[in-house]
C-alpha cells in the first residue's frame, strides 16, 4: 500500500523524504491482541459478577457451578460436547458462506427446516436402524439446502440481498414448523386413546432405531456420534478451504466478484454453492440435534443453536480451526447454565454471560484494527503537512 508521502511529487517537497513508518512488530501486535482479549473477557466476567451480587448471590459459587455443570466429570463433559456439536456444524457452513461474500443469517430457519424434514422421514419411513438415521440426516441436509436455495434463487433472479431474504425466511420456517406439529395429518403426535382432543403441538418421539448411537456408554460418559461428524466436517472443509481450487475460488469471489469473473471463475455457482452448503450444514445440525439429543420437533426446537452458530462463525472470523474451542465455550455456558439454579441465581444469567463474552471476543480485533487505521491516517496526514510547508 502506498503511504502518505507519495501523495505529493518528490520535486514539490522541500523536505527530505519522509522516513518509513514505524510498523509495530508482528510479535508485539500478537501480544497486544492477547492482552486485550484477557482484559475484555475479565471485564465481561466482572460485569457478570456485579449482576450476581446485585441479586444477592455469590459470584464464586456461580462460576464454580458453571464449571461443575459443564466440565466436571464425564457426564457433564459429554453434555457439553453434545451441546457444542450443532454450533460447530452451523458455524462451519456460515464461515464458508461469509467467505464467499454471501451473508447468510438464516441459520435458524435452515436448521428448523432440516429438523422438520428429518422428523418427517424418521417417523414415516420404515427402514432398519442405521439406514433410517442416515436417511433422516440426508433429508435434513437437503431441506436446509433447499431453504437456503430459496434465498440463493431470490438473489440470482430478483437481486434480493441474501441478508434480507435469509432473515425473513427464518420466521417463515418457524411458523411452518409450528403448523406441521399442530396437524395430526402432518407431524403432530397421535393423541393417546382417551386423551384430550387437540393434544400438544409437538411430534411423537423418534423410535429408538432412528436415534444416533451414543458410543462409549461408560458409567458416566455418553456423547453422540455427532461429535465425530462435527470434527470430521471441520477437518475436511478446513483442508478444502485452504488447500483446494474450490477454496481459493470461494475466497476470490468473496473478495472481488468482478475480478474473479475476469479470471474465469463461475461467480454465481461458487457464491450460490457456498450459500447452499451453509444451508445444508445448518439443516444437518438440525438433523443431528433431532436424532442425537432432542428426539422430537416442537415450537422453539432451534433453542437458539442457529444463532449461536452464526455468532461463533463471526467470532472466529476466518479460522475454521478456532471453531472447535469457541463452540466448546458456547457448550460450556449452555450446559453450565443449567446448574445455576442450585446457586439461587436465576439461570437467565447464562444468557447474559454468553452475550457479554461474545461482545468481549468481538472487541479486541476490531479495536486494534481501528487503532492501526487511525495511526496510519495520522502519519499520512503529518507527512503531507510536512512536505507541503
Amino acid at each position: 500500500m502506498s503511504r502518505g508521502p507519495a501523495l505529493l511529487h518528490p520535486r514539490l517537497s522541500r523536505e527530505p523524504p519522509h522516513p518509513p513508518l514505524l510498523e509495530p512488530s508482528p510479535r508485539s501486535k500478537a501480544a497486544r491482541l492477547v492482552l486485550l482479549y484477557i482484559v475484555s473477557i475479565l471485564v465481561a466476567l466482572v460485569i457478570t459478577a456485579i449482576l450476581v451480587i446485585v441479586v444477592g448471590g455469590s459470584p464464586m459459587s456461580v462460576f464454580s457451578a458453571i464449571y461443575r455443570g459443564s466440565m466436571d466429570g464425564g457426564g457433564s463433559l459429554g453434555q457439553t460436547l453434545d451441546a457444542s456439536i450443532p454450533v460447530v456444524i452451523v458455524a462451519l457452513g456460515t464461515l464458508i458462506a461469509v467467505r464467499a461474500g454471501m451473508f447468510n443469517i438464516g441459520q435458524t430457519g435452515q436448521l428448523t427446516m432440516g429438523a422438520t424434514a428429518g422428523a418427517f422421514i424418521a417417523l414415516n419411513i420404515d427402514a432398519p436402524g442405521p439406514v433410517l438415521v442416515v436417511l433422516a440426516l440426508l433429508g435434513a441436509t437437503a431441506a436446509g439446502a433447499v431453504w437456503a436455495g430459496v434465498a440463493a434463487g431470490l438473489r440470482i433472479w430478483r437481486r434480493i440481498d441474501v441478508v434480507i431474504s435469509t432473515l425473513l425466511l427464518n420466521y417463515v420456517a418457524l411458523q411452518l414448523l409450528a403448523y406441521t406439529v399442530s396437524k395430526q395429518s402432518l407431524l403432530q403426535e397421535p393423541t393417546p386413546p382417551g386423551g384430550e382432543a387437540g393434544g400438544l403441538p409437538q411430534s411423537a418421539l423418534l423410535p429408538g432405531s432412528a436415534r444416533l448411537p451414543h458410543p462409549g456408554q461408560y458409567p458416566s460418559f455418553g456423547v453422540s456420534i455427532g461429535v465425530v461428524v462435527a470434527i470430521g466436517l471441520v477437518v475436511m472443509l478446513g483442508v478444502l478451504l485452504s488447500r483446494s481450487r474450490w477454496g481459493t475460488q470461494v475466497r476470490m469471489v468473496g473478495c472481488n466478484p468482478t475480478a474473479s469473473r475476469r479470471f474465469g471463475v463461475k461467480v454465481a455457482a461458487v457464491a450460490g454453492g457456498a450459500l447452499l452448503i451453509s444451508g445444508a450444514l445448518a439443516g444437518l445440525a438440525g438433523g443431528v440435534m433431532l436424532t442425537g439429543s432432542v428426539y422430537r420437533v416442537q415450537a422453539g426446537f432451534d433453542n437458539n443453536f442457529g444463532n449461536d452458530g452464526l455468532l461463533a462463525a463471526l467470532v472466529v472470523r476466518d479460522q475454521p480451526w478456532a471453531l472447535l474451542p469457541v463452540a466448546f465455550f458456547f457448550g460450556v455456558i449452555r450446559t453450565g447454565g443449567n446448574f445455576l439454579l442450585s446457586t439461587g441465581v436465576p439461570d437467565y444469567l447464562s444468557q447474559v454471560l454468553e452475550g457479554l463474552l461474545v461482545l468481549a471476543a468481538v472487541f479486541p480485533p476490531v479495536y486494534l484494527e481501528r487503532r492501526e487505521w487511525a495511526r496510519r491516517l495520522r502519519s499520512a496526514r503529518s507527512a503531507v503537512m510536512r512536505s507541503a510547508t
Binding site: L51, L310, G355
Partner: protein, 303 residues
C-alpha cells in the same frame, strides 16, 4: 358485524399498530443511514423494561416513558459504537444485544418485583364523538397522539433537512458522502440513536400503554415484524407506515376474529409480515430498492 364490533376491531388495530409505528419510524431512519438494525428487538424490550422500572421507581407512568426512551438509547449507543466506530459486524452485535437484552430483562425481572402501571386514556374533545372512528382513534392512551407529530417530523427530518440528506447519502453511497465532507459513521450513529429512542418509546408504550405491566420477553419478535414492515414499505416512509398498520391489523385480526367465531390459521397470520415483505420484493422489484450500502460497513480508505 355490529358497529361496536367494528369499533373494537379498529381500536385493537390502533393499539397493536402504535408500538410498531414508533419503532418503524426509528428502523426506517436507521436503515436509510445504512444500518440493517437487528437489535431493534433489544431496544424495544429494554424500553419496555426500563419504562416499567421508571414507573415503579417514580410511581408515575408518565415518567416511565422518558426512562424507557433512555433504555432504548442505551442499547443503541452500544450497538452504534461497536459497529459504526469500531466496525464490528453489525449482525454479531445486533444478535448478541438481542440475546443480552432478553437475558438481562428476564434476569432482573425474576429478581426484583415491579408494580403495575398504565397510562390513562385521553379523550380528544370533539373528535372522539365521531361514530366508529372516534372512540378507536381519539379515545386512546395519549402517547398514540405523538404519532400524529412524529410521522411528519421524521418525514421532514429525513426528506427536507440537511441532516436527512446527509443520512440518506450515507446509506446510498458512503464513499461519495465521505468525499463531500460528511462524517459517515457519525451520521450512522446518530440515525441509530434516533432509532433507539423511538424504539424505546415503542417498547415503553407496549408495557405502560397497552399491557400495563412488564412480562418476560414481552416484545416476542415484534422487532422483526418492524424490520419486515420497513422492507415491505420499500424503504420509504409511507410504505413503512402502511406496513406497520397492515401488520398491526393482521395482529389484531388474530385476536379478534376467533372471538367473533371465524376460523383462521394462526401460523399463517404470524408468518404474514415476512411473506408479505418477501412477496413485495419479488413482485415489485422495479420500484423496490434497498439503500445501496445497506448493511455494508464503512471505513475510509487510505491513499
Amino acid at each position: 358485524m355490529s358497529v361496536t364490533d367494528l369499533t373494537i376491531i379498529l381500536s385493537g388495530i390502533v393499539k397493536l399498530s402504535a408500538p410498531l409505528l414508533f419503532a418503524g419510524l426509528g428502523e426506517y431512519t436507521a436503515e436509510r443511514a445504512g444500518t440493517l438494525n437487528i437489535s431493534i428487538e433489544a431496544m424495544m424490550l429494554t424500553g419496555a423494561y426500563c419504562g416499567m422500572v421508571g414507573a415503579s421507581a417514580t410511581g408515575s407512568a408518565v415518567l416511565g416513558l422518558p426512562i424507557g426512551i433512555g433504555g432504548g438509547l442505551a442499547v443503541a449507543i452500544v450497538h452504534a459504537n461497536f459497529s459504526h466506530r469500531l466496525a464490528a459486524n453489525t449482525f454479531v452485535v445486533g444478535l448478541t444485544l438481542n440475546a443480552l437484552a432478553l437475558g438481562l430483562t428476564d434476569y432482573l425481572f425474576t429478581s426484583f418485583q415491579l408494580s403495575s402501571h398504565s397510562i390513562t386514556a385521553a379523550k380528544v374533545p370533539l373528535l372522539s364523538h365521531i361514530p366508529v372512528l372516534g372512540p378507536a382513534l381519539f379515545d386512546v392512551s395519549w402517547p398514540v397522539y405523538f404519532l400524529f407529530g412524529l410521522v411528519p417530523a421524521v418525514w421532514w427530518a429525513l426528506q427536507r433537512s440537511q441532516w436527512g440528506l446527509e443520512v440518506r447519502a450515507c446509506g446510498e453511497n458512503p464513499h461519495a458522502a465521505d468525499a463531500t465532507g460528511i462524517t459517515v459513521n457519525r451520521r450512522r450513529r446518530q440515525a441509530l440513536y434516533v432509532c433507539g429512542m423511538l424504539s424505546g418509546l415503542g417498547g415503553a408504550f407496549l408495557s405502560l400503554g397497552i399491557v400495563g405491566q412488564f412480562n418476560q420477553g414481552m416484545t416476542a419478535g415484534i422487532g422483526y415484524v418492524v424490520i419486515a414492515a420497513v422492507i415491505f414499505g420499500g424503504w420509504t416512509l409511507w410504505g413503512t407506515v402502511l406496513g406497520c398498520v397492515l401488520f398491526g391489523t393482521a395482529d389484531a385480526m388474530g385476536l379478534v376474529l376467533p372471538a367473533l367465531g371465524h376460523q383462521l390459521n394462526p401460523q399463517l397470520l404470524l408468518a404474514l409480515p415476512y411473506l408479505a415483505a418477501l412477496a413485495a420484493m419479488v413482485f415489485l422489484a422495479k420500484s423496490y430498492r434497498a439503500p445501496r450500502a445497506l448493511a455494508r460497513p464503512f471505513s475510509r480508505g487510505l491513499a
